[in-house]
Amino acid sequence: MAHRYILAVDYEKCTGCHLCELACSIKYYGVVNPYLSRITIITKPEIQASTPVFCLQCNDALCARACPANAIYFDEKTGAWLIDYNKCIGCRECVYACPFGAISLTVKAEPIKCDLCGGDPECVKVCPHGAIFYGPEYEVVRKLKKGKSVGIVYEVLEKGVEVPAGNRVKEAEEAVKTLYRIWEERKKLNI
């Protein structure tokens, strides 16, 4: 059996710039509007917690179970739960059923959710900090391993993530070194 592809996020890397939201709404609606995005960023900058909320493509999807019209189905090819808009009756049950709040509504009350862009997610491409990954399950989970639980989403919302100061100082030292190097290079050009 082929590996399932999943979309995942490293909460420590997300800085909350909202560019993924904009890219998502542009791709599907041609307008810039975070409310028409299938990915939503919840930010608490003071504790460095930016939490992208999007469909996690559950194994047992409560939205599909809740749908009275059976409009939500699993697409084997992309590994995404999709909405069949021909069947959808617009009752919003899926929105209420999702424990993560990952389904949004358009102004016409159509439910919208992440469909993994058919296997080529726009948000992954636009993220300036490489916080969103897409790939085979094993590879993505491997990238997220850092001695903590992968499912820290609730914890992050409550307390935020703190990166140990030691790392920051090292990064800052590197930055200063780079700066001096650039200055050295610049001297040669004499401008």
Binding site: L19, V31, V32, Q48, I182
Partner: protein
């Protein structure tokens, strides 16, 4: 309208009336938005000679044409008013989410007049605009205020508002956006004088783009460059503007000297600041995370965005090297809503005057003002925000503070048109620093043209960029400083008017998108055409920029700015040295040349009718020609007991 939100909100707080009007197409095309639209509106609505803290003053907030579109770094809100700090045009430019969300609600500008009888806040949700009671919010610090509003309206709102400093009419109180982003020049006190605490907005409409395909292709190209650039990725996204501590020669002990990279004392080096950092953040739609999130173990508190300016003004210039205390002061300035540069420079000046014996313990109420005394400074900052004791005098802000102390103190006020010069380089860079400080339309400032004129950061970002710019027609500051400055002033004006950031990396590519590819403004013209559907060209953009700049100059002429106010001060101790005298002589030659090229009268510094006619704003000439305006001497100051004081 594509690109623009298409509507302007007028709020009359005295009558508690809200009127929403469509943005006129002509105004939009002539002034774009943001700073352009604000300066135009202020010129039309503010009568010359009024008290900035009276109900007649007008407060404008505007976002800019490309705000909230997917072009990166378009997160700036421009807040403009007649400044209570300087008494001339005062505008602050702040980041955060406010600008984009206001655009997504469908608005380009908010114009506020009058004075409410009780504290109020304005709630905007798409088509709903309401004036609401702010009794519970009044008195809250900025963080608490934003949290309370988020509890009421939800966490997807953006908030602009003031802290206790604004309420107490501190003359350098700022407009705070989403807790941590501040727009200076004293606009916060204008909110306070109008009894307006905050504006909260939710927008769910989004922005429509005329030619989405072309626009997003250009926007993506632009962003890719920032994602790949080494300087942005490895320096600015890691230490942000702290990099300036090494590159920009921060002043030490009220500009006694300027610290080179090797002279920085322990405590204010970028690596020392990194010890308190717990994460990084940025504004809406920005790929550069220039802002740090820091933790203060001593106080068990968090703060966001300690910029170069806060470290230099509150720290180095006051000879304070206690890293955590400096960060605490920065966080307090955010919480109370004060501008860190004016705050730090005023405190440093007070210490300097105390040392000289010009102010004594009688003035300070027994508080000793010592260099490097962080604890007292923290106390003083709180006293300023609530105008308590000696804080009441300091709250008048830099030049005004010196003015109430007396002429002996005023000699040491290094300001242009009421704004502190802040730091300036030891080398005079062919006079461009002094000239740029003198010609800025809001007083001495580094974001009106200076940094761009001599490629301050461009050389670090891409050493070949300056060469490309020269090929593209940018005058070389080494040969033609006046020409270089005028082009840079145009660039900054356009950037402020499209709503893009000038602060996060201080360089041409960010100020004028696609600059590395198309000479100067051609890339921007392409983006604007694609976004709005109107035909923009490089020539048209230059005309727009000049129109905005001259309207601002005309505004200041009405406030009494004469040619003599283009003077740049130097410390009295060095002013008679041959080096400085030569510098000053050269400065006045350049001012003449500047005024000539800007199309102003060289003797009076008043824009000429024929220049204004060419720019399609001859009506401005009727307002300023052959009229006598009382000479500027700062804003009218109130008797100190008339201000709201205490908690």
């Amino acid at each position: 309208m594509y690109g623009w939100g298409g509507k302007v909100i007028y709020v009359d707080l005295t009558r508690e009336k809200v009127v929403v009007q469509p943005l006129s197409e002509t105004e939009a095309k002539m002034y774009l938005g943001g700073r352009g639209l604000n300066s135009y509106r202020l010129f039309k609505m503010v009568k010359p000679g009024i008290d900035p803290l009276s109900p007649e003053n007008v407060l404008c907030l505007a976002n800019g044409v490309l705000a909230g579109t997917a072009l990166s770094m378009t997160s700036r809100t421009e807040i403009s008013s007649l400044s209570p700090l300087s008494g001339i045009l005062g505008d602050g430019n702040a980041g955060g989410d406010f600008s984009a969300i206001l655009k997504h609600a469908g608005y380009d500008q908010i114009v506020i007049t009058g004075r409410a009888s009780k504290p109020k806040y304005i709630w905007i949700e798409d088509d709903t605009v309401e004036i609401r009671d702010a009794g519970d919010l009044w008195g809250l610090k900025v963080g608490e205020m934003v949290d309370t509003l988020r509890d009421i309206h939800g966490d997807d709102i953006a908030v602009a508002g003031i802290g206790p400093a604004g309420e107490h009419l501190v003359r350098f109180a700022t407009t705070m956006i989403d807790k941590y982003h501040s727009g200076a020049r004293g606009t916060g006190a204008v909110w306070g004088s109008k009894n307006l605490k905050a504006i909260a907005v939710r927008g769910t409409r989004g922005v429509e783009i005329a030619d989405p395909e072309a626009f997003f292709k250009l926007a993506k190209e632009d962003e890719e460059w920032f994602k790949k650039n080494e300087f942005v990725k490895k320096i600015y996204s890691v230490i942000g503007t702290h990099y300036g501590l090494l590159a920009w020669y921060p002043g030490w002990k009220y500009f006694e000297k300027y610290l080179g990279p090797e002279e920085l004392p322990e405590g204010i080096r970028p690596v020392d600041l990194a010890k308190y950092e717990v994460g990084r953040t940025q504004c809406f739609s920005c790929p550069v995370s220039c802002k740090d999130v820091y933790k203060l173990p001593r106080w068990n508190e968090y703060g966001v965005s300690s910029e170069f300016e806060s470290i230099y003004a509150l720290g180095a210039n006051n000879a304070i090297t206690d890293t955590e205390a400096i960060l605490k002061m920065e966080q307090m300035a955010d919480e109370y809503g004060m501008d860190v540069i004016t705050l730090g420079d005023t405190l440093a000046m007070a210490k300097f005057l105390y040392e000289k014996g010009i102010i004594t313990d009688t003035d300070t109420g027994g508080i000793p003002l010592k260099w490097g005394d962080a604890e007292t400074q923290i106390k003083l900052i709180e006293m300023i925000a609530y105008r308590e004791g000696f804080g009441n005098k300091l709250a008048e802000g830099y030049r005004n503070f010196a003015k109430i102390i007396g002429p002996e103190a005023l000699k040491y006020s290094y300001d242009v048109k009421g704004l502190s010069r802040g730091w300036y380089h030891v080398d005079f860079l062919n006079g461009i620093f002094t000239l740029a400080h003198a010609t800025s339309t809001r007083g001495a400032d580094h974001l009106r043209g200076r940094s761009w004129a001599y490629w301050e950061n461009d050389r670090n970002m891409d050493p070949e960029l300056p060469l490309k710019l020269l090929e593209g027609g940018l005058p070389d500051y080494r040969k033609d400083p006046v020409g270089a400055l005028i082009v840079s002033e145009r660039a900054c004006t356009l950037t402020d008017s499209i709503g893009r950031c000038k602060g996060s990396i201080n360089s041409w590519p960010q100020a004028i998108p696609l600059v590395w590819k198309y000479p100067l403004f051609k890339g921007l013209a392409k983006l604007l055409t694609a976004a709005t559907g109107y035909e923009f060209t490089e020539e048209k953009l230059v005309e727009i920029a000049d129109r905005i700049y001259l309207i601002e100059m005309a505004f200041n002429v009405r406030q009494g700015i004469k040619k003599k106010h283009y003077a740049v001060p130097f410390p009295p101790e060095i002013i008679n040295t041959p080096k400085i005298q030569a510098e000053i002589k050269r400065h006045w030659e350049m001012v003449d040349e500047y005024l000539k090229r800007r199309g102003c009268d060289v003797e009076t510094a008043v824009p000429k009718r024929e220049t204004l006619r060419k720019l399609g704003i001859e009506w401005v000439a009727d307002e300023i020609e052959n009229k006598e305006f009382p000479e500027w001497d700062g804003p009218p100051l109130w008797p100190l007991d008339k201000y709201p004081r205490g908690r």
